[in-house]
């Protein structure tokens, strides 16, 4: 009888201990099929590499594919919050999907950490205490490109971007810093693959340079067609059109092009060197900036979990805000609107052996914060 009683006690105690340990559940919604799959796969692989390296069995990650469709992202988010009861969400690549999911998630007391999309509204008027962006505010890389265009004495840019929130943020960002004239400004369809009409307009416009934001497959199409068109103006872009995943598909057409990024594989710090080597060993390819963002997001979560329980929201939030983790970007800190304050570099596309990649040639903007922080009342 006594044995039985102590056994019951032990069970009760261990159940209690389990409850106190409080497993952390992370829901990742990202694009794993269709046109933008390469971006989502990179974020996921970078994220999971950090989670696996931590080897914590109290962190569970649920991954789902949004197919780049806002409606399926919303459905998955509802399911994750209502029935899976996730504590933290992350993963969304596209700003239109982020706008559909993030405000609802943070309103239901779930933390959302963005590894990519950073729409301006969520940095400004509709910022939220439970929303953190670990990548950038959408405008940031484009602002650096605008600043670079001034340095390179470009006076008459033709600019184009897809017609969706991040596309508008992109051109707004470029124009904020760029002080020359605009030879033309075009919004293309999201997912457009033929740019013959746009290239003809560039040819006719008398521009001295082209700035474009066309992430994923859109950028591949544009660059190949641009190279084939005989229009010979210098091109500047954000890193999204020159990331590791698409450079091989573009080929030599991209060589020498300047682009702006908050990360590159040659940033000199121990965390980055280890990340690049481990990623190559594990997945057999060079990491892209998306992979670095996924990796940083996971490490930020892990660093906060070391300090606070995710159920204690105030403590956990403070731990996230402190951002005490080894970012592959080097120094990393959050501004008051929970968006990064960071260096943005100018890179150039080069060829290493038979692999096309980037190298940093300058710092475009140092310790750069976004322009919407002042609109945020948290």
């Amino acid at each position: 009888m006594k044995i039985l009683k102590s056994l019951a006690m032990a069970t009760a105690v261990s159940t209690l201990a389990l409850a106190a340990q409080a497993d952390t559940k992370i829901g990742m919604i990202t694009t794993l099929s269709g046109g933008g799959a390469g971006l989502g796969v990179d974020v996921r692989d970078g994220f999971m590499m950090a989670i696996e390296a931590a080897g914590r069995d109290d962190v569970e990650v649920v991954i789902e594919d949004d197919q780049r469709k806002p409606e399926s992202a919303v459905q998955i988010a509802d399911r994750m919050i209502q029935s899976e009861k996730v504590d933290i969400m992350t993963g969304i690549i596209w700003s239109n999907l982020a706008m559909a999911v993030v405000p609802a998630a943070t309103a239901q007391d779930v933390f959302y950490l963005s590894p990519n999309a950073g729409p301006s509204v969520l940095a400004g008027k509709r910022c939220h205490k439970n929303y953190f962006n670990v990548a950038w505010q959408n405008d940031n890389l484009h602002e650096a490109a605008g600043a670079y265009a001034n340095d390179a004495a470009l006076k008459n840019s033709f600019i184009l971007a897809p017609n969706y929130p991040a596309g508008k943020d992109a051109l707004t960002g470029y124009k904020r810093m760029y002080s020359g004239e605009l030879a033309g400004e075009i919004y293309t369809k999201l997912g457009q693959t033929d740019y013959a009409a746009e290239i003809a307009q560039i040819r006719a416009s008398g521009a001295d340079s082209v700035y474009f934001f066309l992430p994923g497959g859109m950028g591949i199409s544009f660059l190949k067609q641009y190279a084939d068109s005989g229009v010979d103006l210098p091109v500047v872009g954000p890193a999204f059109s020159f990331d590791q995943g698409i450079l091989q598909a573009v080929g030599a057409a991209a060589l020498g092009i300047k682009n702006t990024s908050q990360w590159n594989k040659d940033i000199d710090n121990a965390a980055n060197a280890a990340f690049v080597a481990d990623f190559q060993a594990k997945y057999g390819r060079l990491p892209s900036l998306y992979a670095s963002q996924g990796f940083d997001t996971a490490n930020l979560i892990l660093s906060a979990l070391d300090k606070a329980d995710v159920k204690d929201q105030d403590a956990f939030r403070a731990a996230l805000k402190a951002a005490e983790f080894d970012s592959v970007r080097g120094d990393f800190k959050f501004g008051d609107n929970h968006h990064p304050v960071q260096n943005i570099y100018v890179r150039e596309v080069i060829q290493e052996g038979d692999v096309f990649t980037n190298k940093i040639i300058a710092t475009g903007l140092a310790d750069h914060a976004d322009a919407y922080a002042s609109e945020c009342n948290m």
Partner: protein
């Protein structure tokens, strides 16, 4: 806005239309002859592009790559017809849509499994790269001219096949009355497989041609598929001539609308809003065109009275 720019845009619209025709021709034949709605047609376009990219990477020859795209898409089409599509002819359209939608998913995930999630490299061959100077001082990429030429040649071949050959007679007869030609001793199931493979090969060719100037990636066929459906609805379902006219109309409307609408709005409002509103409206333009055509001719421009 110079005349040269307008002419160049017309060429762009023409080139887009000709590629759409290659897609729509197969779709309209399959619908006209077999009465089947084939959502997986875009997957065959993707198969063609991937086969071309793989063979081009392997051999370095663009001509071999184009042949591979024809062969691979035709083989995939024939295989799908024999194993899946054949069972769907007598079912209603909803079953066909469900089954061919499943095929899209199978093809997409299969391709991802074979080739990975990252876009493949397929480039224009060196002898077709770069621009040429056309009469009137228009600088235009040679490869796009070649695409227009290939598309027109294939289109002419298709008209000849349908109008002048025995197979063509059987295809037209199959469209009109399938029980009757079966009763006359034509092997209808072989004919169906042939038509399906032919449509697939055309889609595969379009995929390979377009893949060289765009990105070869999983899911590349779906946006084109939607446009191809718009084309055959405008042209009249089952009509090759309708597919050609419809494709050129859609190609020109989409290209010219995208260029001129934002400029038109710029006369009336701030350039930034004009660009954004014009772009939004331009992307609706082909659907507005489709609605307008259907209002006047409910069965499409060249559709029968079915």
């Amino acid at each position: 806005m110079s005349l040269i720019l307008i002419l160049e845009q017309v060429l762009n619209g023409l080139q887009f239309g000709v590629m759409l025709f290659l897609m729509a021709a197969g779709l309209t034949l399959v619908f006209g002859v077999m009465g089947l709605i084939n959502l997986a047609h875009g997957a065959l376009y993707m198969v063609g592009a991937f086969a071309a990219a793989a063979v081009a990477g392997w051999t370095g020859s663009f001509v071999l790559a184009l042949m591979a795209s024809l062969a691979a898409a035709a083989a995939a089409g024939a295989l799908v017809e024999v194993t899946v599509i054949r069972r769907l002819y007598d079912r209603d359209h909803l079953d066909q849509v469900l089954a061919t939608f499943a095929l899209i998913l199978i093809f997409s995930e299969g391709t991802r499994w074979l080739f990975g999630s990252f876009p493949l490299f397929l480039d224009v061959p060196s002898y077709l790269s770069g621009p040429v100077m056309l009469p009137g001082g228009i600088q235009y990429p040679l490869y796009r001219l070649a695409m227009i030429a290939i598309g027109l040649v294939v289109g002419a071949g298709l008209f000849w096949l349908i109008a002048r050959t025995r197979i063509g007679v059987q295809i037209r007869a199959g469209e009109a009355d399938r029980e009757m030609i079966a009763a006359l001793g034509v092997d209808i199931s072989k004919l169906y497989t042939l038509v399906f493979a032919l449509g697939a090969a055309l889609a595969g060719l379009a995929g390979a041609l377009v893949g060289a100037i765009q990105s070869v990636q999983v899911g590349m066929g779906e946006p084109v598929l939607i446009l191809a459906f718009v084309v055959i609805v405008i042209g009249g379902i089952g009509s090759i001539k309708g597919a050609l006219v419809g494709a050129l109309l859609v190609g020109l409307t989409d290209t010219l609308g995208g260029v001129f609408l934002p400029r038109l709005f710029a006369l009336m409002m701030e350039p930034e809003n004009a660009a954004s509103l014009g772009a939004s409206l331009a992307s609706m333009l082909i659907y507005i065109l489709m609605a307008a055509v259907l209002l006047v001719r409910p069965s499409g421009l060249f559709g029968g009275s079915a």
